[in-house]
Symmetry: C2
Subunit: 188 residues, 2 copies
DNA sequence: GGATTATATATCAATTTGATATATCGTGCA
DNA sequence: TGCACGATATATCAAATTGATATATAATCC
């Protein structure tokens, strides 16, 4: 069906739970999904159009009449659900990680250690803030694991916690190493 | 200078160490950088052209003459080095993570637990293989940390180890949770 | 009442992906 | 000697994505 692009699948997955507008989808991506996924309006709206054209989703409400703000609510179709299921049962996945932070550390030899330490500090600050949020999510979800859907959300939350804690351990260790060698032969 | 796209910076960082061809750059990205960065030929060659046009890099050798295979070796210029340094001293970085694995787990409620477990198993297998490689890198680098450049490489390697170990802990825990609830209310 | 923020869709240039095309070089092996 | 195969090497393309911007209405705050 050639609908194997990632945004299509994110949309199908979200619509499988509830009807949503493009704007709602963006909020979900920036909310629950933010610890393992990213996406922008520039890919959401074209994906919605293409999915609708192919009959995988349909619009259920669209109020652009009279004095109403335009608002297009989409719903998944049975074809869409089928496509989602096909994707979920392919166990092969491709994960794309691009850490600008690590890139700066890798090339850090071209500047002094202070620059690399500042980069790590900035990263550490963000991770600490996110980790605090993830921990409250975990506490709340722990109480409702009797509902099946919550279990899957819970699994992604503990993934975030596990990896963010790893980030923090690395930040400490990396800064320690850089400080220990602060005056080590610097080209500049 | 508007040369703030990511591939430009990867290229400048790599050329700061040694002269390289586009193909060499791809090998470095798929080699030492692969645990925290990705990039394809389709972005490397256009970036090389644009960097050359703007005087941040220059070609030092180019053998397309007579019976020679075409081979364009690039070198960084002082303007390029300046641009690299400017980027390295901006501590703000943007990290883009897209785990298809986690997306499938998050939407896992639409299929049975077996599908999610298979997805996790596949991920676990790849992580284990990569982790073994990272550990040998670490062992080898540990012996040469007296050279400054090795320190920065070492830091990215221990980042990989720390996060990959976190992935494996999560895989075990996630599978345990899913197996415990294997027969929990499945829509299908 | 006026300012600001949230809701909402849409588009654009620039970048990136993933695939494909093309051609040469080096190595193993039969 | 030939020839198949993998590595080297550049380049391009459609499709997807980013990050920004434009436009407009609704809700909230002071």
């Amino acid at each position: 069906m050639a609908n194997d692009n990632k945004m299509n699948l994110v949309i199908l997955g979200l619509l499988d739970h509830e009807d949503l507008t493009g704007y709602d989808i963006k909020k979900r991506i920036d909310g629950s999904l933010r610890y393992f996924w990213k996406g922008s309006f520039g890919s959401i709206y074209p994906a919605l159009s293409s999915l609708e054209e192919n009959g995988l989703i349909k619009r259920v409400k669209s109020k652009s009449n009279a004095s109403g703000r335009e608002r297009i609510v989409y719903s998944i179709t049975s074809e869409g659900r089928e496509s989602l299921l096909g994707w979920l049962t392919e166990s092969k996945s491709s994960n794309s990680l691009k850490y600008e932070t690590l890139l700066k550390v890798y090339f850090g030899g071209a500047a002094d250690n202070v620059a690399a330490i500042a980069t790590i500090n900035e990263f550490e600050k963000e991770v600490e803030a996110d980790l605090a949020v993830l921990r409250t999510y975990k506490d709340n979800l722990s109480k409702v694991l009797n509902e099946r859907d919550h279990v899957f959300y819970y699994l992604t939350v503990i993934f975030g916690i596990e990896t963010y804690e790893a980030y923090l351990r690395w930040c400490s260790e990396a800064k320690r190493i850089l400080l220990d060698r602060k005056y080590m032969g610097n080209k500049r």
